[in-house]
């Protein structure tokens, strides 16, 4: 079930250059799962489409959702100027979320790259596995959100410039650290997801990856956000699944990226 509602911003701050951490009180909170996202509507009338933003943390007691987003254009710039107490229109929870029960009894590796780091936080809280290892990939030593992860699992860092942790990408880190890995759940830039898909297929392990696509409706009606799938999708039967509805999380083998 999804809700369309007006949420109230309870806190908002810039946690690193151009990265905004925003908490919103919303009644949909109790319905949310890690890996799902919310469509957030800008107020500016020239900016009409809602923006998909992943759920970073779910606080059911306070009925609050936490979002962490990068300012990239008009919509996110507008959100960044909002203040605590301001209202914002939301539609969600959208999408399927991570199938975190698939990790039970296994060695789970959670991977976040860049602005794909936020949704991994709630996942690392809720996933139940034999062992959970979290790998976070950053460009440099600006390790936003990293501290929030420490209490939930073993955290490994990879940075492109080598300033912290393994120099290189998250897969370099996974291989060099000899981390036990039976199932992967990941969110991040497309090159990273492609590499994870190849890695998982080569090793014959399950991998669940969260994809991004341009969206208009966010509810499965416009067919704007599709991704090529190996099997017939359940909506149009043409091997094009809707990222907003059947996704954003797909088994890596099921999608052509």
């Amino acid at each position: 079930m999804k809700k369309y509602e007006t949420g109230v911003i309870t806190s908002i701050k810039e946690i690193s250059a151009g990265i905004i951490d925003m908490s919103v009180k919303a009644s949909m909170t109790s319905l949310c799962l890690p890996g799902q996202f919310v469509m957030i509507y800008p107020n500016d009338k020239s900016t009409l489409l809602p923006r998909p933003i992943s759920i970073c943390e779910i606080d059911k007691a306070k009925e609050e959702l936490r979002f962490v987003f990068r300012i990239v254009g008009k919509g996110t710039a507008e959100f960044s100027t909002m203040k605590a107490g301001d209202t914002v229109r939301l539609l969600g929870p959208a999408g399927n979320g991570f199938p975190f029960d698939r990790a039970e009894g296994k060695n789970a590796v959670l991977i976040g790259g860049g602005i794909g780091v936020p949704p991994i936080l709630e996942l690392s809280k809720q996933v139940k596995a034999k062992k959970v290892s979290t790998l976070l990939g950053y460009r440099n030593n600006d390790l936003f959100l990293k501290d929030d992860f420490d209490k939930y699992s073993d955290v490994y860092i990879a940075t492109e410039d080598g300033s912290v942790g393994t120099k290189g990408n998250v897969l370099d880190c996974l291989k060099s650290q000899d981390i036990p890995c039976d199932v992967i759940m990941a969110c991040g830039p497309m090159p990273m997801l492609r590499a994870i898909k190849a890695f998982a297929e080569e090793r014959g392990i399950e991998a669940y990856i969260s994809l991004e696509e341009r969206m208009a409706c966010g509810v499965g009606a416009c067919l704007g956000c599709v991704c090529k799938t190996t099997n017939k999708d359940h909506h149009s039967h043409v091997n094009n699944a809707r990222v907003c509805t059947e996704g954003p999380v797909f088994e890596a083998r099921e999608v052509e990226i």
């Binding site: 009409l48 489409l49 499965g220 009606a221 067919l223 704007g224 149009s236």
Partner: protein
């Protein structure tokens, strides 16, 4: 207060429907919107067989609107008849099925298949700018439009609405051609062909290069075309293009539309259809309009 309108013998409880392709078959928005409140649901274009549509990027925002190049992805008429029609039949609303095709024969197959289905009207999309063959070719040539209309009329069991493209020099000529072919009604406008370039990547934003523009920025063009088309023909007109609220809907009706469709506004506000329905009622009360039919084409 009467909000019902009659179009080709079909009575609609109010003049508000959804614009094809922006509302699926009602299932998705049905979570927010009480479909019983709508005059009709107009479904996404359906072809004789499943179409995969265009590669992504398929949608992008532009100032005051959006471009789309979905390319008519659809599951084909068989799945549609098994899944979507029974779903919509659960509600007290009329069903308008939007039909697409690449050749006259493909359109006819769908129309024929629908003949025995419990749907109220057919809307023939001869105006999609996002597929290479068929579709818009029929909608940009008056002779071809008249011809396909008369072919469809020969076999259609439900009243036929021809959906016109704004990407023509004279919309009145196209409206007349549809009428000459025997159309029971016309609807307009479909999207206006547009383009967006990403100046940082020096690339087209849409994989299809061009896309159809919709949203509030196209409304003045749409109102003008509804006015011109409705004055060129005697058959009723369904107006659309940028409708966001009741005031916009009323403007279209005053220009000559008997019904109106809400399109991209659904994306900007999932409650848009209901707000238009309720807003029309409020406006009628406030302005002492007892019958919505009074305002249709009232601006001469």
């Amino acid at each position: 207060m009467n909000t019902s309108v009659k179009l080709c013998g079909v009575e609609f409880k109010n003049p508000v429907t959804t614009a094809s392709g922006t509302f699926g078959s009602g299932m998705e928005y049905g979570e927010f919107v009480d479909l019983n409140r709508l005059g009709a649901v107009t479904t996404k274009g359906v072809a004789s067989v499943a179409w995969p549509g265009n590669p992504t990027v398929r949608v992008t925002e532009v100032y005051g609107g959006m471009l789309n190049a979905i390319g008519l992805q659809n599951p084909g008429i068989d799945v549609f008849c098994q899944r979507d029609i029974p779903f919509l039949k659960q509600y007290d609303t009329k069903i308008i099925v939007n039909v697409c095709g690449k050749t006259v024969e493909e359109y006819l197959k769908v129309v024929e298949r629908l003949a025995s289905e419990p749907v109220d009207m057919l809307e023939i999309n001869v105006s999609c700018p996002n597929v290479k063959e068929g579709a818009i070719a029929f909608g940009q040539d008056a002779k071809a439009l008249e011809n396909i209309t008369s072919e469809i009329k020969k076999i259609a069991k439900q009243p036929v609405i021809m959906k016109l493209s704004p990407n023509v020099t004279r919309i009145a000529d196209m409206a007349k051609a549809a009428q000459a072919g025997g159309a029971d009604a016309i609807s307009l406008i479909n999207t206006i062909t547009g383009m967006k370039i990403d100046i940082n990547r020096r690339k087209f934003v849409l994989a299809n290069k061009t896309g159809g523009m919709s949203g509030p920025a196209i409304k003045p063009v749409a109102v003008r075309m509804v006015y011109e088309a409705s004055h060129a023909v005697d058959i009723p007109v369904i107006g659309m293009g940028g409708i966001q609220n009741a005031e916009d809907a009323i403007e279209f009706m005053m220009a000559g539309a008997t019904m109106v469709a809400v399109g991209a506004a659904n994306f900007m506000n999932p409650m848009a259809t209901i707000e238009v329905v309720e807003g029309i009622e409020k406006w009628m009360q406030k302005n002492n309009v007892s019958d919505i039919n009074e305002i249709i084409g009232c601006v001469e």
